[in-house]
């Protein structure tokens, strides 16, 4: 089956083109096209995965471009990582396709939405199949395009438009880093293929400085895509898109592309201590940073968005700590439970038509399915034992500890505490307490919406068991081809992780569930910290005041230069041509004297030149 893995991305691509062509006529039936195509993708991915479980890496490449002596190849590779990502992406995409049928019901541009989803899924699947950097970059940009289109799906809303632009520009800043890194690698190695790059990094063709430089440059790309500090600001704003999009793109798949990129280039990063440290520090800082912001936000999707940023930071921390497996493992579990959380949030929004958690509450009884499903996701992300998040987070903590990043380890622990706290704050505010919204007829979502959630909930619990210290580390063994050595971590790490998450839950319960603690007992004590968090550390404002204003000033300057200098030159040229043309045509007036005069003026000019230069001009 691995030989035909390249077909996997083609199904959604077909869906995209097909819906683009005839979607207008099909209206909501276009959902079935999308669902069917992603289902085929998913089934084929599964088949590829099972094939890969027993087999070895399959790689097919063809020469795509020949420039001089340089041959650029294109193809696909089925490594363990690729096969795994293929399944995760196609599964989440498939479920989101189903879910969207209910969520987007009645939207005028229903088929367009499905077409965009198809485009995005194609790009994402293509991205994970790419065997070289160039191809990765192409799909990387396509993924960005899909994200842009879907964030701006409600383009008649100013916020959505701005958010789409912001996402595109912020990720583009990262992409520039990625691009420069990629070109540097090509310059040094002479090939875009991952294998060649790893070989060069290993045998010293690449100098140590160059390895560090390129690794960090490519990491900048990952920072942009995965919403890591300082390029994270686009991700919360991207929540202006439809909620299924948030689930698919801004939680499960695209933002994980950055993590995937670092994982795919892991040997390159391993060759440089500095690069690894950079990844770990950025990841750890982002995890804590985003978690603190998440503590005080009141928009349900924004809380989830900051939680996503925080969890992505976790993954980066894992990768930076040298635990490739932990990063991918957390990526997988996070994809499931975060998609679940977003879909459940979408279900809630669908029911009460608001995103403000202050206006929700008391939904537990009204939504008998969504409530428990959301709870499962919350438990998973909080790292409560036996749920998937517990195992993956534990793996990351162990990796940070054994790798000697003590400070980062404690940062991760504190982040875990915050995560548990704000997730349960969210849960209690939305589902607990009494009703605070004015929606009369709150009803459970239709089956097309709950069904994918149920599947994801099952996965959110079960996905953890592919890699546990208790029952065996299947995923790790397989991803590393059996070379995985689970470091015997001190048992207390697991205990600490459990304790902090339970503590966070308990505190949230005290404040928002039981309300024995006033909600503002802490925020009233540290008002400045609260407003700092509420305003997301003023990062957006900071960017606006510095980069934004600087860019505006430069643009103004350039626009004036354009208006007066460039256009002036253009006008001058046009006027010159025009004048000489009219002058020339005025000379052709048929009068002999005019012709004689012109001829003589020319002759006089020649004579004068000759007289004053002696003929040597």
């Amino acid at each position: 089956m691995m030989e035909i893995a390249w077909i996997v991305p083609l199904f959604p691509l077909f869906s995209f083109f097909f819906l683009l062509a005839v979607g207008k006529k099909m209206k909501e039936t276009s959902a079935y096209v999308g669902i069917l195509m992603t289902l085929l993708s998913f089934l084929l991915s599964l088949a590829v995965l099972f094939d890969r479980l027993g087999g070895s890496t399959y790689k097919a490449e063809h020469v795509w471009l020949t420039i001089g002596s340089v041959k650029l190849t294109a193809g696909f590779a089925v490594t363990a990582l690729n096969a795994w990502m293929l399944v995760v992406v196609s599964l989440v995409s498939f479920l989101v396709h189903i879910y969207s049928k209910g969520y987007m019901h009645g939207d005028e541009r229903f088929s367009v939405f499905y077409a965009y989803l198809g485009l995005f899924t194609f790009a994402m699947l293509g991205l994970v199949l790419s065997p070289n950097l160039l191809q990765t970059y192409v799909f990387w940009e396509l993924v960005g395009l899909g994200s842009f289109l879907l964030i701006g799906f409600y383009f008649y809303k100013e916020e959505a438009k701005a958010a789409a632009k912001k996402a595109f520009i912020m990720t583009r800043i990262g992409d520039v880093g990625f691009f420069i890194g990629m070109i540097l690698l090509f310059w040094q190695v002479g090939s875009f293929a991952y294998d060649d790059i790893f070989r060069a990094a290993e045998d010293g063709t690449l100098s140590q400085t160059m390895v560090t430089l390129t690794a960090i440059l490519i990491f900048i790309g990952a920072v942009g895509k995965s919403g890591q500090f300082p390029l994270h600001t686009w991700l919360p704003d991207a929540m202006e898109g439809p909620t299924p999009v948030s689930a698919l793109i801004h939680a499960a798949t695209m933002v994980a592309a950055g993590v995937y990129l670092v994982a795919a280039l892991f040997p390159l990063y391993e060759a440089s201590e500095t690069a690894m440290l950079t990844v770990a520090v950025v990841g750890g800082f982002t995890a804590l940073f985003a978690a603190t912001i998440g503590l005080v936000q009141t928009d349900i999707k924004r809380v989830l968005a900051y939680s996503t940023v925080s969890q992505l930071g976790y993954m980066m921390l894992a990768l930076g700590s040298g635990s490739y497996v932990a990063g991918i493992f957390h990526l997988t579990t996070h994809a499931f439970f975060k998609a679940l959380l977003f879909l459940a949030a979408g279900s809630v929004i669908h029911a009460v038509h608001t995103q403000d958690i202050e206006k929700m509450g008391g939904l537990w009884r009204k939504m008998p399915l969504t409530g428990p499903l959301f709870l499962i996701g919350t438990l998973a992300i909080s790292g409560v034992p036996l749920f998937s998040g517990f195992f993956s987070k534990d793996e990351i903590l162990v990796a940070a500890w054994t790798h000697g990043h003590v400070a980062l380890f404690w940062i991760a622990v504190v982040t875990a505490f915050f995560t548990a706290f704000y997730m349960f704050r969210l849960f209690f505010l939305v589902f607990g307490g009494e009703k605070r919204h004015d929606e009369k007829d709150v009803h459970e979502a239709p089956a097309v919406m709950t069904l994918p959630m149920i599947v994801l909930a099952v996965l959110a619990v079960a996905a953890g068991y592919v890699h546990t210290p208790w029952f065996g580390t299947f995923l790790g063994d397989w991803l590393t081809d059996g070379a995985y050595a689970h470091e015997t971590a001190p048992g207390w790490i697991m205990a600490v992780a459990t304790a902090v998450s339970l503590l966070g839950i308990f505190l949230a319960w005290l404040m928002y569930g039981k309300r024995s603690l006033a909600r503002d007992w802490l925020s009233s004590r540290v008002p400045y910290t609260y407003s700092l968090l509420w305003n997301k550390y003023y990062i957006d404002e900071l960017y606006m005041r510095t980069v934004g204003y600087a860019a505006t000033a430069i643009s103004l300057l350039l626009s004036y230069i354009d208006r007066f200098v460039v256009e002036g030159i253009a006008r001058l040229i046009a006027a010159t041509v025009h004048t000489s043309a009219s002058l020339g045509s005025r000379m052709q007036n048929g009068q002999v004297q005019m012709y004689g005069a012109v001829t003589f003026v020319g002759l006089a000019l020649l004579v004068v030149i000759l007289a004053f230069t002696g003929g040597y001009l």
């Binding site: 048929g590 002999v592 004297q593």
Partner: protein
């Protein structure tokens, strides 16, 4: 020795030539244009005769040339005037700026 040298004659001829040229290029009446051309030819004649006396090889040849020039100039004036007559019959004008059939 004469105090009038060659260059003085040449400069005089140059001035007359320039006057004739300017007139030929700007005058409106075709007859005047023709006569201006005669003036230019006269300026040339002065040169020829001056060279005949003060040139590198003084001799009668310059004067002979001047005579030929006068002959040809007279013929030119006659033909030019005849052409002018024909033109006047057809266009009822002697103004050179109204004769612009070259444009078409």
């Amino acid at each position: 020795m004469s105090s009038v040298s060659l260059s003085v004659y040449l400069v005089l001829a140059l001035i007359l030539f320039c006057i004739g040229l300017y007139g030929a290029l700007t005058k409106r009446n075709t007859v005047i244009v023709l006569i201006c051309i005669e003036l230019m030819l006269n300026a040339v004649n002065i040169n020829l005769v001056a060279f005949a006396k003060y040139g590198a090889h003084p001799g009668i040849t310059g004067q002979i040339f001047a005579l030929f020039t006068i002959t040809v100039a007279a013929a030119e004036a006659a033909v030019g005037l005849a052409a002018l007559m024909a033109l006047y019959r057809n266009r009822k004008t002697v103004h050179i700026d109204e004769i612009d059939s070259l444009k078409h």
